[in-house]
Symmetry: C2
Subunit: 349 residues, 2 copies
Amino acid sequence: MTQVKNKTVKLKHVAEAAGVSLSTASRALSGKAVAYRISAHTEQLVLSAAAKLDFYPSQVARSFRTQKTKLLGVVLPDVSNLFFSSIAREVTTYAEENGYSVLLADSRESTEVEQKLIAQLRAREIEGLVISPVGLQKEHLEKLHATNLPVILVDRGFPSSPLITVTSDHRKAASQAMKILIAMGHRKIGVLQGIPGTLPNEERLIGIREELKRAGLPFDTSLIKGNQFSESSGYRSAKQLLNEHFDITALFALSNQIGLGALRVMTELRMKIPNEISIITFDDHPYSEFLAPAMTTVRQDVKTLGRMAAELIFKQIKTGRKPRKKVHQIPVKIVERASVFNLLTSEKE
Amino acid sequence: MTQVKNKTVKLKHVAEAAGVSLSTASRALSGKAVAYRISAHTEQLVLSAAAKLDFYPSQVARSFRTQKTKLLGVVLPDVSNLFFSSIAREVTTYAEENGYSVLLADSRESTEVEQKLIAQLRAREIEGLVISPVGLQKEHLEKLHATNLPVILVDRGFPSSPLITVTSDHRKAASQAMKILIAMGHRKIGVLQGIPGTLPNEERLIGIREELKRAGLPFDTSLIKGNQFSESSGYRSAKQLLNEHFDITALFALSNQIGLGALRVMTELRMKIPNEISIITFDDHPYSEFLAPAMTTVRQDVKTLGRMAAELIFKQIKTGRKPRKKVHQIPVKIVERASVFNLLTSEKE
DNA sequence: ACCCTTTGCACAATCGATTGTGCAAAGGGT
DNA sequence: ACCCTTTGCACAATCGATTGTGCAAAGGGT
């Protein structure tokens, strides 16, 4: 359907121009000429008429008739965060390659708007949903899942849920980061957490606890602060932690935004990293290596996260079957740079 | 239309359950009870039947009938770049508030895929398009514009085109940045440009030239390198520039990604910023102030860019009239930090 | 009691494509 | 020459909502 100055060319016009019926025009245009024994000659008539009229079929009429929208929903808590926008990019690119379009929505870390957005997307009859949910409630998602709408969760999942999830190996990631800190002699490590109760946060805490235990160190919950994966939460909790525990030597920030908040505190307090305080932060970033000092980070394989989510959703859309494997864990990589001080080899301040 | 285990509840079922006709059910549900004199009692019957059946109307059927999709297309050259993802966020949020959904597409800086994506979006009958085009070709966009589809360009526009554009005041921005460099005593300034021929790039070059002229300095085109707004282009051109001009004291990077490439060159060459080389880069970033050293940047008001694009597109969709003003220029702000060396007050190396 | 207006809803067309089916004409075999 | 198969297309139903219009019943005025 091409709109030229309020006049829309429809299949009817193509059929008339080619001197054939609607059905013949439709079949010729959708490459079904052979299957329906349209002669090569009529096929050409239709194709050239369509080309001349600059016709393209209305997707909404087609969707309506075929009951397939070729629409994929993508819901993210913050599209402007590199972590999520990278996932969005992978998924949209993959979708486009498969002839699907992506409806993108931003839940702003609110379960309430998340639910509204999902309702909107369902009304639009998306064929699948890729979502990084806020992660505190799962009922609305499990209901969706039970409905047979293909749903893939990215990053934030739920323990022992039937929902299919693609996420990093948070536990191992956190434990490895802690291992580095401990190996460098750090004993009192503040944790700047994200949203308590969300899977990434809890898994990371488990990893942290495991590593502390392995080193024979106590798991002191007063060293864990924060309630959002945001810069402001990181800022507040870093400040509070440094206030309450004068002898903290290292901070572990559980997201890039939280890390940013911690950095702000350090500049305000004129605390030198790593000499006065060591930092490791979750999520690598192009800028990480150019920070003062270069930041040691936990790099999630965001490309693979996005790509696997895309692959899983399309497999499900095509086969109509849910994958057996519930949780797909992607390995992470610690990128060691210069933000961790070695308390053992260096002289202490 | 609610799907529960392959069974879809349609308006028909609601009407039957309420014991009314399709038309009455439709009108009761869309709040037209009063206008069509549906009694409060029947209205209630319909509403509770719909609630009980968990009915919601099929947007595709509705779109098909009303010829309104309530769909907005957004096309960006790189969704994962903070500059663009921030625009995406503003536009999607605004769209959602207005009952519209956003179809997001990523052109990967290719005019060819941009055209394909636009064709896809048109086939889906979007009611408006917000696009940051690649910026080298405009014919396909002007054709769209002539078609009466509301189109708003963001960031990259075209000189003397009927297309409505929201963009920063690139000329003034670049000129102010140059003014700072010149005031600090820099005379030989390398420019790491983006895609030549695109409006932001050309406007920035004009601003640069104007400021040089004002200062009585020559505009040396051999000091301008680069062909993409990407990190790799920034890397290559910074390297080349430093090779060919041993006496360059400052670099002006025309995008955040380009700046990243320049930073990489400096670490490889172990050149100290700002002592050995000064840098100003376009586009501010949360990390900019924590870089080594804190980066002086040109901060585009990306929220306003996105918001104004959203406002303009919806005004156009609602009124059906194109705004008279073609180019909406948003002021920028220079954020002075520590990446520019003052050659005049400090001793020279 | 009669007529006119208002109330309260139902009928049926419609949006633009896709697709199962049917039928005439052409072709082919004996 | 007759019959059967194949070729090549057209007819008409259909997807699920919205909306202009019409009509019976109720109400109201004199």
